[in-house]
């Protein structure tokens, strides 16, 4: 594997996070020991009637302890940021990997749904693709649409009516709600070579996920960039494979004849 391999990189980042966490734990333990030592020194000093000689040493010790505590606090917050970044990178890596891991169109569609549900927290969503004829989209995949009150996703078809969805299908721009007049929380364009072939519409999040977070934006961008091309490649492969098998059967028949 090269140093640029994203999987290796993610593993290295994760390893570094674990190591940093251990260092932080050790630092915390050392700090607690130092703090306890300072406490007992203070007690000893008090019991001996507060000798003037130990006062500067105590002050120095207290100052150094305060510095250490401040360093620990800073390290701790940097580690938390680092862990968040690692998690975000891992989500992006896994989502990309899984989208391109198969040449089965159904499986690619399922992966798009799994990303929406498991990584973004979508309780209700619809995956739309333009139909080859007419000005309508087919609903290729959805969840919980039976509870959608807008009634614009009917009988496996989206015929227009939501301003955000219509706009994204027309201009291929990612939209994140709230958007006036729209039920959608996010509309992700699905584009192949600059052409918008559909959209992923997120209509409701799980109750325990309050709203889309800033780092969800990365995942939405990733879906916009990769979902359609992965699906398109899988469909092309599937069609070619089907044609190849038909031709092979024909050749066999001709040979037998």
């Amino acid at each position: 594997m090269s140093a640029q391999d994203p999987q290796q990189l993610a593993a290295e980042v994760q390893g570094a996070t674990v190591r940093a966490n251990l260092v932080l734990q050790e630092l915390q333990a050392a700090l607690e020991r130092a703090s306890s030592l300072a406490g007992s020194l203070q007690q000893t000093k008090a019991s001996r009637g507060g000798s003037g000689q130990t006062q500067p040493q105590m002050e120095e010790l207290t100052r150094r302890l305060a510095d250490l505590e401040s360093d620990r606090s800073e390290l701790s917050s940097r580690l938390a940021e680092f862990e968040q970044q690692t998690g975000r990178l891992m989500n992006l890596y896994v989502a990309t990997y899984q989208l391109h891991a198969t040449l089965d169109p159904q499986e690619v569609q399922s992966t798009i749904g799994e990303i929406a549900v498991n990584l973004l927290g979508a309780e209700r969503y619809a995956l739309l693709f333009w139909k080859s004829e007419g000005n309508r989209c087919e609903i290729a995949l959805s969840q919980d649409l039976q509870h959608d009150r807008s009634n614009i996703f009917q009988n496996g078809i989206y015929a227009g009516g939501d301003p955000a969805v219509d706009a994204t299908l027309a201009d291929g721009v990612l939209r994140i709600g709230p958007i006036e007049g729209s039920e959608a929380l996010a509309v992700v364009p699905l584009t192949v070579q600059g052409t918008t072939v559909g959209a992923l519409v997120i209509l409701k999040l799980f109750d325990h996920k309050e709203k889309l977070r800033p780092d969800d934006r990365d995942l939405l961008d990733l879906l916009a960039a990769h979902a359609a091309s992965a699906l398109f490649a899988a469909r092309v492969y599937s069609t070619t494979d089907r044609k190849l098998k038909t031709l092979e059967s024909l050749v066999k028949l001709v040979r037998r004849g």
Partner: protein, 127 residues
């Protein structure tokens, strides 16, 4: 201290991949529904599983049914089970914990949140 093996029971391939990445230091046993997971646990080579990450909504056998089966067998009852699911209502959490789960994590989860839960459950597990 690390667990010997982690059994991941989830019907989402994406989640299996995610857990593989997150838990690189642990050998992982994969199962895509409750019934398959019980089969894996019964295999001699997987007797050393000592942590289970469990989804709730799965085909064939769901998470609660699997949990009941695991906790009902003396040879598996001791294995800590972490439910990792999109079902986020308080009643769902209570039901899972009552059924014997050691922890309940809601999807989508932050990696550090799950790591902390796993670390707290696997401390003291001998390799």
């Amino acid at each position: 201290m690390k667990p010997n093996k982690v059994l991941v029971v989830d019907d989402s391939k994406l989640l299996h991949r995610m857990f593989e990445m997150m838990l690189r230091q642990y050998p992982i046993v994969h199962a895509y529904d409750g019934r398959e997971a019980l089969e894996r646990l019964a295999e001699a080579e997987h007797r050393d599983v000592d942590l289970i990450l469990l989804d709730m909504n799965m085909p064939r056998m769901n998470g609660l049914e699997f949990l009941a089966a695991v906790k009902g067998k003396p040879e598996t009852a001791h294995i800590p089970v972490v439910i990792v699911t999109t079902e986020g209502k308080e009643a769902d959490t209570e039901r899972g914990i009552k059924a014997g789960a050691s922890a309940y994590v809601k999807k989508p989860f932050r990696n550090e949140e799950l790591s902390t839960v796993i670390a707290s459950l696997t401390l003291g597990v001998k390799r």
